[in-house]
């Protein structure tokens, strides 16, 4: 293994081991979206049918891909938040003086967080029949590929903020005030098709809308009639790839410039 590969691998591995030993994190990042899904999905099923929602599915099913997205988002937040304290008075101090490039550090962290989010996402994927979605092998494969992409983007965004901000409180504040609305307006909660024009514009400009579309298309691979009006597959994947790449670039840049220590 090359020196850089070993460095990436070891930082990836650290994320995995830490996660395994922090059961509350595993449960927290999984159970909270699950509760959302159960309460909102089943709660709204009878009474709530947003306009633009494809016919033939109920709200539980509509909301399900959105909840997967939320699982990925929460796990990414949990995975990256430790960076805030870690680089100033914890483990990352040692990494910062080691002979390792900052973008290598970010790569290891992001891949670790992506793996964790993907794991949580896959556990959630098992619940698809509860939503009334019966996944083909191809659909599972495509969904995992899309989840990987989005999980990676979320982790890079998390790192981008964690390498810059000085307190975990600030980190939470930013993540909640930026990422949750982005999630909310990605088509996770209601389809763009039924929204007023100004809101539809915001949703079209939201990169996550295309990630959401890619995930929906993957879950319903082979049965496009259940999708309703969504951005096309090629556009969705292309924009998601660009989104993840941009997030990675920014995360590496912020980490590069981070002085690690406050005055």
């Amino acid at each position: 293994m090359s020196a850089v590969a070993l460095q990436v691998w070891t930082l990836w591995w650290r994320e995995i081991v830490r996660f395994r030993r922090q059961r509350s994190v595993i449960i927290g990042s999984f159970v909270q979206p699950l509760i959302f899904w159960v309460l909102i999905g089943w709660g709204f099923r009878a009474s709530f049918k947003p306009s633009g929602m494809p016919s033939g599915i109920d709200y539980v099913q509509y909301f399900y891909p959105g909840v997967i997205m939320l699982v990925l988002l929460f796990t990414a937040i949990f995975a990256t938040i430790a960076t805030v304290d870690d680089r100033r008075q914890g483990f990352l101090q040692g990494v910062l003086v080691a002979p390792i490039a900052r973008d290598t550090v970010v790569a290891g962290q992001a891949l670790g967080g992506t793996t964790l989010a993907l794991f949580q996402g896959c556990v959630f994927l098992v619940l698809a029949p509860l939503a009334g979605i019966h996944l083909s092998a191809a659909a599972v494969g495509a969904s995992i590929a899309v989840m990987t992409l989005i999980a990676f983007a979320f982790n890079c965004i998390g790192l981008m903020i964690a390498w810059r901000i000085e307190s975990t409180r600030g980190f939470h504040l930013i993540m909640n005030s930026i990422l949750v609305p982005i999630w909310f307006l990605s088509g996770a909660f209601f389809p763009a098709a039924g929204a007023p024009l100004w809101l539809r514009w915001i949703m079209w400009l939201n990169p996550l809308t295309y990630g959401m579309a890619a995930l929906r298309r993957s879950l319903y691979l082979g049965e496009p009639h259940t999708l309703g009006a969504l951005p096309g597959a090629a556009v969705s994947v292309a924009i998601s790839v660009a989104f993840a790449a941009a997030a990675m670039w920014f995360a590496a840049r912020v980490a590069q410039r981070s002085q690690a220590v406050a005055a």
Binding site: A3, L6, V17, Q22, G90, Q93, G94, V97, A263
Partner: protein
């Protein structure tokens, strides 16, 4: 990056030659956070095999100096060479050759001791059998090998410090930098930790540079540099510094110190300096003066402390104010 001259085991002749060149060479070093000058005009050299301590109160600039030397923050002004590498240049190759122990723990509490060392080894390019061998050797040397499988967070403060040290030494650095290494240790553990450092210098041949605000720790360094308000006010072996203080030191407290100082000056032609509300007199054969002072001004004196000069006295002698270890921390370091 040109690595050819530095790679491979140094031949015997070369080792001798290298030991003559200083490990750290710093001149005109300055650093500021925004508008606040944290260091200015710092110059010193440290030779191979030294145990060098930077002593100073919090806010004196120790931590900033440590961050510069450990390549954690970029250079702003002045020049610095460590092990022949210019700190202004690429530091990757240098980092491989220094070990760093931070004031706050850098162990991951959720990982075992062995796992912490393994990650550290991987970051420094150690792997496989070599890593296992080094891990075992370091944990054994620091006498923590029986805790290798325990989560780092379950270790006591003293043991954790040892593991930090094992980790920093894993990649066989030539220079070990420690920032306030004994923070949070009780005096006994502190002494023990220092004994360990002394031992390591002898057995592993590393040069040790540390920062401290503990007098008794500074006392045990081969040489110390005293930092105050961002300036290096003295560099010398502790004994020599104490010799600079004129003989014995008397500290006199009383209700009216200023008036007393004038009276002492008139009566004995001795200069008593007012430092933070107490009078200080530095003088050889001080015990004779103490007796006469008490005879003459007994009513105006609450207490007299008398003793051989300590490093604290040296600090007061050099800076004109007392050594404040704690409360300045808030204003940043």
């Amino acid at each position: 990056m040109n690595t050819s001259p530095a790679t491979g085991a140094a031949p015997a002749g070369r080792a001798g030659q290298r030991s003559a060149e200083p490990v750290i060479e710093v001149g005109g070093l300055g650093f500021s956070y925004g508008g606040r000058q944290a260091l200015s005009g710092i110059a010193f050299t440290i030779a191979r095999g030294e145990i060098f301590g930077f002593l100073g109160p919090n806010g004196g600039g120790k931590s900033t100096l440590f961050r510069l030397l450990s390549t954690l923050v970029p250079m702003q002004s002045g020049n610095a060479r460590i092990l022949g590498y210019d700190l202004r240049g690429a530091t990757r190759a240098l980092r491989r050759r220094i070990g760093v122990v931070f004031q706050s723990p850098s162990l991951d509490g959720k990982l075992t001791v062995a796992e912490n060392l393994a990650i550290h080894g991987h970051l420094y390019g150690l792997g496989g059998a070599r890593l296992r061998e080094r891990t075992h050797a370091m944990l054994a040397r620091l006498d923590v090998d029986d805790r290798a499988g325990d989560l780092a967070e379950t270790l006591s403060g003293g043991l954790r410090r040892r593991v930090e040290l094992a980790k920093a030494l894993l990649h066989e650095p030539e220079l070990l930098l420690l920032d306030e290494p004994s923070t949070g240790l009780d005096p006994a553990a502190r002494r023990e930790f220092f004994n360990l450092l002394t031992l390591l210098r002898e057995s592993a041949g590393v040069t040790i540079v540390l920062t401290t605000h503990y007098m008794e720790e500074a006392e045990r360094c081969g040489r110390i540099g005293i930092l105050d308000q961002g300036r290096l006010v003295a560099i010398a072996p502790p004994g020599e510094l104490k010799g600079q203080v004129g003989g014995d030191v008397m500290v006199i407290s009383g209700p009216a110190p200023e008036m007393l100082a004038q009276k002492i000056a008139r009566q004995f032609q001795v200069r008593a300096v007012l430092v933070d509300g107490t009078l200080r007199i530095e003088r050889p054969r001080g015990h004779e003066l103490v007796a006469r002072l008490v005879d003459e001004f007994g009513g105006e004196i609450d207490s007299v402390a008398f003793g051989r000069p300590t490093l604290e006295d040296v600090f007061v002698h050099l800076t004109g104010h007392r050594f404040v270890a704690g409360p300045r921390e808030k204003n940043g370091r």
